[in-house]
């Protein structure tokens, strides 16, 4: 049985690293022959989770030093793709603000499933259907 393909990345939770992580994820998906639209959509959803972690995980007024964030992407047998974005910071549930908060809406529109685990920092877990060449191998 083929082992799932996997990409693990970690970086400081700073805005200048988000694009690099996103580009690495896009290259990973391209290498697995994901089509352009799906690749764009998955990296868009992951980009939202990454940006959310940068903005909220380690607030400057928390007294905690800014930490890292991680991305784990896995292609499972059967063609399912999962992407987890996690941090060890604090999760603050915010009231909806008109004209803001589109990030989670975008993730929910793209991902087949999405969940948020706040037991140890925050982990946004997303799964996608991946009808790519990778899933057919």
């Amino acid at each position: 049985m083929r082992q799932p393909s996997e990409l693990r990345l970690s970086c400081p939770a700073q805005s200048r690293y988000v694009a690099r992580i996103r580009h690495a994820l896009a290259a990973f998906l391209e290498a697995l022959a994901f089509d352009n639209d799906l690749r764009d959509d998955v990296t868009t959803a992951a980009g939202e989770a990454l940006a959310n972690a940068v903005e909220h995980a380690y607030p400057s007024d928390s007294g905690k030093a800014a930490g890292d964030l991680q991305l784990l992407a896995r292609v499972h047998s059967g063609g399912r793709l999962s992407v987890d974005v996690s941090d060890r910071g604090s999760f603050i549930r915010r009231e909806p603000v008109p004209g803001r908060g589109f990030g989670l809406r975008i993730i929910r529109a793209i991902a087949r499933q999405m969940s948020i685990d706040t037991s140890r920092g925050t982990c946004v877990s997303m799964t996608f259907e991946a009808p790519s060449a990778a899933s057919k191998r």
Binding site: S15, A19, R22, D40, T44, G47, E48, A51, I106
Partner: protein
């Protein structure tokens, strides 16, 4: 930013994402002389919700003063992320530059 025929053009390109938040906000400033505004996003290859929030803020502000704003969108990622965010109705978008100018020319006179 450029201005001609009473239509001001604001051009943004590349990846509009979190690390460019302040740059996007700075670019999206109106002057008191603006009568109609084209935001040229033809060369935007990626946009996130932070960029959409800044664009929405700008468009709502212009709308309050009856200044028409059109977005020129020619890349699929941007068009889709607007849909995913549920903002398709919030922006006047065009994929054709001439059509955007025609709209702004007419709307700017109303």
């Amino acid at each position: 930013m450029s201005s001609g025929n009473s239509i001001t053009t604001i051009r943004l390109s590349g990846e509009l994402e979190i690390s460019r938040k302040q740059e996007i906000r700075d670019a999206l400033r109106r002057s008191s002389e603006d009568r109609a505004i084209l935001i040229d996003l033809a060369d935007v290859t990626y946009a996130d919700s932070i960029a959409l929030t800044e664009l929405l803020r700008f468009c709502v502000s212009a709308q309050r003063e009856a200044i028409p704003v059109a977005l020129l969108v020619q890349t699929p990622q941007f068009a889709r992320v607007v849909e995913y965010a549920g903002l398709a109705g919030a922006f006047k978008t065009f994929n054709d530059r001439d059509a955007a100018f025609t709209y702004l020319t007419v709307a700017g006179k109303e």
